[in-house]
């Protein structure tokens, strides 16, 4: 009994993990669609990337393979690069336009 418990933990339903990931992704999507502040949009994108990573890790755990965790590492690297460039853009936008409103940042449009 004890050795069995050491080898295998009690099971989790595999759909439940994916449903949790879907809920987190939908929350992030709702944040992206609702917010007008650039910083909050970046935060919501982070939530969505994290949810995608959770789905990958869940799939890897279901088949007991390390590939899901490897994919999560790539998502992590991508999120780090994306957030550094995005935050540099946010600072530049704030210094030049003194606003965080994405509705006001339409300088490429004809006036």
């Amino acid at each position: 009994m004890r050795s069995n418990k050491k080898k295998y933990m009690p099971p989790v339903n595999s759909h439940t993990v994916l449903v949790v990931a879907a809920i987190l992704f939908a929350l992030g999507l709702c944040g992206v669609l609702t917010r007008k502040n650039v910083l909050f949009i970046l935060i919501s994108i982070e939530i969505m990337l994290n949810a995608a990573g959770l789905a990958f890790v869940a799939a890897g755990a279901k088949w007991r393979q390390p590939d899901g965790q490897a994919m999560f590492l790539f998502i992590l690297a991508m999120a780090a690069a994306e957030v550094s460039v995005g935050l540099a853009l946010v600072m530049q936008i704030y210094h030049q336009h003194k606003t965080m409103d994405v509705g006001d940042l339409n300088k490429l449009k004809d006036e």
Partner: protein
């Protein structure tokens, strides 16, 4: 472990709801740290301790520090919160929330319709992940290195403090006109 999974996923969902409804940026970021820690607990309960540690170190550590530095450098406090309170009226968020809820409902129905399989979870430790990364995924690791390098260079270039927003051709034009003006 099942109990840990359910509790931490509940905490993750609740704190993510708090993230997307806060007005103050710093409150949203602190709730986001809680959400990341809860997701790290989910990873731990799914038998992925290496990824759980990375989630805490990189997401809840490094990326959150970047966000908090930006919030501090831009002085986003009460005025931003007041602006958010004006922007986030119910008529603004009710449409996107309903549409997202519909999408989520469709996805959940599709997920739950198949036959349910229980996962027999075994721990996949850092050694197996490292063997997989430096075995079959070596090209992808190098590409991730390129991506991080491009990210660093891009952030350093974009983040330079330039106050003028005029294009360089226009500026040269203006300087020439100034010289002509001075000569005459």
């Amino acid at each position: 472990m099942t109990t840990v999974f359910y509790i931490s996923s509940l905490v993750a969902i609740l704190s993510t709801v708090m993230v997307i409804t806060r007005y103050q940026p710093i409150h949203a970021l602190l709730y986001l740290v809680v959400s990341f820690l809860a997701v790290a607990m989910i990873f731990l309960s799914l038998g992925a301790p290496f990824v759980a540690a990375l989630e805490v170190i990189i997401y809840a550590g490094a990326i959150m520090v970047l966000f908090i530095f930006v919030v501090m450098m831009l002085n986003l406090d009460k005025e931003t919160a007041a602006q958010e309170r004006i922007w986030l009226q119910p008529r603004v968020w009710i449409g996107p929330s309903l549409l997202t809820l519909l999408l989520l409902a469709g996805m959940v129905v599709l997920l739950l319709r198949g036959q349910r399989t229980t996962m027999r979870i075994a721990t996949v430790d850092a050694r197996q992940v490292a063997l997989s990364l430096y075995g079959g995924y070596i090209i992808a690791v190098e590409l991730a290195g390129f991506l991080l390098m491009a990210g660093i260079v891009g952030a350093a270039h974009i983040g330079k403090h330039r106050t003028e927003s005029m294009h360089r051709y226009l500026r040269k034009d203006e300087e020439q006109q100034k010289e002509i003006h001075a000569a005459s």
